[in-house]
């Protein structure tokens, strides 16, 4: 066991020295490789996160959301709208919603304030999301004050911290009573941010939406199925890109592999011959080269993967920002929550590390099985 271990250490040792000897070439290789992994991993992480985000958001969203538009911008729903909607047939439930964003200069973050009936949240108290509680160091019973946009200071008692398993939707949430909400944002009585509707017969959603637009021309109904389609087309579009990029990546790999296959330089061939002549077995030589391939590809895999993770989840997939713009009206504060699974990593691994290592091995193997007597000439 011990000599076996020593031998592996020798092989790794020699491999590292070998890599260092051809520094420029290997660094170039590593960079190209890392870039490929980065692009593939970014795309993979991005779709995955988007899909899970979408299913999460959509699961709890109402069938129709009615917004009022003024000069192309989202505006308050004035009093009387709810009653007028009530007269439209097919609408089963309607609920005026009150929500808004609040910028907290203390921690430099945006919160979502949302009103709840007084039966859920008593006046003067709030419930806060877990991320927010963490940031501001809040626990039930603590008090906190927020300065409203009008400049007045409002004090609240924290009644509860929302459970962290719904963090995706509630991390930055502040729930407060309707009357507190109206006072804080100075919303007039009867006004709402938007209206959530449910429709008796799901088949009639489009008809109901058409009736709503006709009855309230300054409103915009947003259908859950439309949002769904936005996601869908985004995914389709993205998948088109994936194919293109994948083709590019495969091409890049082919180049890398070809470079390796044909580029087993005279120098490398000579070294393999020397090692064999002085007593290295074919398997030792191959093992050493496997280490070399693994060190390069695993390093590239880790670097590219981590860079992709940071890019997607900490910089909001900046590379894909143009794609996101299309729906930023719906989800202006869209941030991706890290979602990675084993299958994803395995797939990525399979498409990057495995082909490279295999491509490296074929020429090495060919060189390693030839008789070493060639080193006596040259």
């Amino acid at each position: 066991m011990r000599p076996w271990l020593e031998k592996q250490l020798h092989l790794i040792d020699f491999t590292l020295v070998s890599l260092a000897r051809r520094k420029t070439k290997n660094v170039g290789l590593l960079l190209a490789y890392t870039l490929i992994v980065f692009v593939l991993a970014s795309l993979s992480l991005f779709t995955h996160a988007l899909r899970s985000e979408a299913s999460y958001v959509l699961a709890g969203s109402p069938e129709v959301i009615l917004q009022r538009m003024v000069a192309g911008r989202h505006d308050l729903i004035p009093a009387g709208y709810l009653e007028r909607i009530g007269r439209i047939r097919g609408v089963q439930k309607k609920e005026g919603r009150l929500w808004g964003y609040y910028y907290d200069p203390v921690v430099n973050a945006n919160y979502t304030f949302m009103a709840r009936p007084a039966s859920e949240v008593a006046d003067g108290t709030i419930m806060v999301g877990s991320a927010l509680a963490r940031e501001r160091g809040l626990a039930p019973g603590n008090t906190i004050s927020f300065r409203s946009y009008a400049g007045k200071l409002f004090g609240f008692t924290v009644a509860a911290v929302l459970s962290p398993d719904s963090e995706l939707l509630s991390a930055d949430l502040v729930l407060l009573s309707e009357s507190d909400f109206r006072r804080f944002f100075e919303y007039p009585e009867g006004h709402y941010t938007d209206i959530a509707l449910s429709v008796a017969n799901p088949q009639e959603v489009r008809t109901v939406a058409a009736k709503l637009s006709a009855a309230l021309p300054d409103s915009r109904p947003i259908l859950r199925e439309e949002v769904l389609r936005t996601y869908q087309s985004l995914f389709d579009w993205r998948e088109g890109i994936v194919l293109t990029v994948l083709a590019g990546a495969i091409l890049a790999f082919a180049i890398l592999a070809w470079e390796k296959a044909s580029g087993l330089s005279a120098e490398e061939r000579r070294e393999i011959g020397i090692l064999k002549a002085i007593g290295w077995e074919t398997s030792d030589v191959i093992r050493m080269k496997v280490w070399e391939g693994l060190i390069i590809s695993l390093t590239a895999f880790l670097l590219g993967g981590i860079a992709a993770y940071v890019q997607v989840f900490h910089f909001g997939a900046a590379v894909f920002a143009p794609v996101l713009k299309g729906w930023s009206v719906l989800y202006p504060r869209f941030t991706l929550v890290p979602a990675v699974d084993g299958l994803q990593i395995a797939t990525l691994f399979f498409f990057t590390v495995v082909p490279y290592t295999a491509a490296v091995l074929v020429p090495i193997w060919r060189a390693a099985i030839t008789d070493p007597d060639a080193v006596m000439r040259a």
């Binding site: 011990r2 000599p3 076996w4 271990l5 020593e6 031998k7 250490l9 020798h10 092989l11 040792d13 020699f14 020295v17 070998s18 260092a20 000897r21 051809r22 120098e267 000579r270 070294e271 020397i274 090692l275 064999k276 002549a277 002085i278 007593g279 290295w280 077995e281 074919t282 030792d284 008789d371 070493p372 007597d373 080193v375 006596m376 000439r377 040259a378």
Partner: protein, 224 residues
Amino acid sequence: MIELSNIRKAFNQGRHNEYWALHGIDLSVEAGKVTAFRGPSGSGKTTLLTIVGCLSRPTEGRVRFKGEDISGLPERFLTDIRRQSFGFVFQQFNLIKGLSAVDNIILPGMPSGRPRRNLVERADELLDQLKLGHRSRARVEWLSGGEQQRVAIARALINDPEVIIADEPTANLDTALSKEFLAILEGFTDAGKTVLLTSHDPLVVESSAVHRVVGMRDGRLIPD
């Protein structure tokens, strides 16, 4: 120690450029002695050494090493024999560039899994004996020809082989360094090692350090 019987070697056998480099060599090499092969270029000296050193196989004939027929053994066993029993000093030294003298010297010891510390200690000892201790950590490409040759010799000795095979070991050396090499040769035989070498150099083949000179011509031995 080593017996060759009716060794024949063909290159590119069965093809239009088939070439027979050796035509039936019979030879017995005595242990603890220096045997030199001398002959014109192309007479098959290097080819013969590669067969004796298990770097290639004869097309026909038998090689016996310490009484055992090794010509039919699979590659793995030949590698083992090569590593355990032979040390090679190549004409072009064949050191690996970018590695230090010591790192080159310990290469043959790696496959057997000898601990690195142990190998490095031995390499330093050998370099001291060869008066190159002060250059042990220098990269080999910065060493002079004579220094590189001593590194190559130290590498041949790291596994403490019974047989040393040297192909044209003095071809790249001036007279002074060639004489130094002859002195090292005497050290080998004093330590009981068997040496096989090829040389054109009269200084080597006529030296008292060489016990037997075998002439070669056109792939055959010239009787003594």
